[in-house]
Symmetry: C2
Subunit: 337 residues, 2 copies
């Protein structure tokens, strides 16, 4: 067992803000990142919590990310919102763009948000949950550095290219899922390597292109998409939406740009918000969706996506987040003790 120290969520938030401002971030950039990191710790999503802070700091130190960037918003078409993150972190750009996306979706029935010139190092569920908390359906995708081989290929080309989706619930937090289109998260492969554990089949291939269950070989070779050529097709769709439509880098381009500082990759994010009440069938959709969720939950063995995360939420609001002691020591050091 890892030694852990449980600290209040307010302390998580304050630590992140201090660590980032100490390394040159503006208070606005730091506060937006801190809110996202704290929401991850609140929901027990450790891999996107304080664990990411050393990477955020590294990207400020290397000068790759402009910690003082001020994002700007444009409306190039009636149902389109574009935020230029100006080479800052994604969270502040999203705080600017999401309310505008929600407004446009309510007015138009559907709207899109493209975030450009940003550095994304967080999960995607926070943004789609925020859309769904406004009563709309949310979808988000982002590309990243190349780690995943395309269907039939043997070299990394796609990012882990997550797809997130959220749908509003009548009571309680939205239904939400957020999944990498890679068969296994890269962080989990790294944990297998550290612990000397073989991977399950289908996770990756070695540098020679042959299937491998050796985590070190897969880290040196390429990850595989989930679900074979179908998952690869979704990874391809993510590249085209976050790259070509949003107007930012494809994963293979992001991978070719430096510096390799361990921080967030450069790239775009593409989001869609849909207002089901604007499709001419009244407000009954919400009750109909609830009857669907009930029918699904009645099937033995099923669980709605996001349920575990939302279960953690109440506990940690009250009790705080249990942080590995070595990580907490490192973040405290970065925050200036």
């Amino acid at each position: 067992m890892t030694d852990r120290e449980t600290i209040p969520l307010e302390e998580v938030d304050a630590l992140v803000r201090r660590a980032l401002t100490k390394h040159g971030a503006s208070s606005a950039q730091a506060a937006a990142v801190a809110r996202i990191v704290t929401s991850a710790e609140r929901d027990g999503s450790e891999s996107h919590g304080l664990f990411r802070v050393p990477g955020y700091v590294a990207s400020l130190r290397s000068g790759k990310v402009d910690g003082t960037a001020t994002p700007t918003l444009a409306h190039p078409a009636p149902a389109v919102v574009v935020v230029d993150a100006a080479r800052g972190f994604a969270p502040l750009a999203l705080e600017l763009g999401l309310p505008a996306l929600v407004d446009r979706a309510r007015e138009m029935g559907i709207a899109a948000l493209a975030i450009r010139h940003c550095f994304h190092f967080a999960a995607l569920w926070p943004e789609v949950e925020q859309i769904a908390e406004a009563g709309l359906v949310g979808l988000a995708v982002t590309a990243a550095t190349p780690m995943v081989a395309p269907a039939g290929g043997t070299k990394p080309f796609y990012g882990t290219n997550p797809l997130a989706f959220a749908f509003p619930r009548m009571d309680g937090p939205p239904l939400a899922f957020d999944m990498a289109t890679a068969a296994m998260a890269r962080g989990d492969i790294m944990l297998h390597a550290r612990d000397g554990e073989p991977l399950p089949p289908g996770v990756g291939i070695g540098p020679d292109g042959a299937p491998s269950t050796d985590p070190d070989a897969v880290l040196a070779g390429a990850q595989l998409p989930f679900g074979g050529y179908k998952g690869a097709a979704i990874a391809l769709m993510v590249e085209l939406l976050a790259g070509a439509v949003a107007g930012d880098l494809f994963s293979y381009e992001a991978g070719a740009k430096g510096p390799k500082d361990g921080g967030p990759p450069e790239g775009g994010e593409f989001l869609i918000a849909i207002d089901p009440s604007r499709f001419g069938h009244g407000d009954g959709w919400q009750a109909r969706a609830e009857s669907f969720f009930s029918a699904l939950a009645d099937i033995e063995g099923t669980r709605l996506p996001g349920a575990r995360r939302h279960g953690n939420r109440g506990d940690r609001h009250a009790a705080g987040a249990p942080i590995p002691a070595s990580l907490l020591a490192e973040v405290r050091r970065l925050a200036g003790g």
Copy 2:
């Protein structure tokens, strides 16, 4: 080898029109279905070609589908198009809705189309290809009768819930994929049953809920989603878009409605069209996408989605479509000899 007779695509089209009008369809409904069936035979997509005609006819005979329905169009919100198919087949409703969807997407940057009260029995690539041929990005989903177990569950609940996506190319037909979120198409499982071939693992479970490679057991039990819980999450998203947002039946509801005539299931379809040129980064997106496709094609072993189908297209325009003799005899009989 199945005995086949090769007939010109014009004859495919004429046969379908005759078979449907002979069983009470209007010439407009019959012509729209015929165009879709002919495009499937043109592309070598046999499972959606003449193979479907007996089912189309059965649904006219049973009175489930109104073969004389006239679809109507509404704009309940600026970026939303809704077509009420009035209990007719999907193709005529799509012929009405797709041009309006394309117009709205060009004007607004993104737009959605919901088709309601329709019977869909075709692939989804024809509609997303049509969107992409207009220079836009297209996405389509539809739910259907319950055949697929949700994540962790042991009973059919989701339809095979296909997701289709198309992206315009500078030269030649669009990149397009159209995939069931089930691990294997139901028709392929039926072919395994007919031929006494075991299924690969992961395709389905028996009536007892245990994994099975026996095609008869899986047909009596439940299919599984592709890619485990991630594919199941996409199947869930499809239900929510085609059911709750479009304002039509969920798969489990469609399955409870009769008659079981072997024809198309009742349900909704949900489509999105996106105009990449309205995202404030000019017209360079098309050339950037082409450079991405080139980089992808340069990786040994890869092939772009849709390439095989487009390869068939040229051949069959010239030479016609090879139709199994027994199927051709049946369709000719339905068409009145």
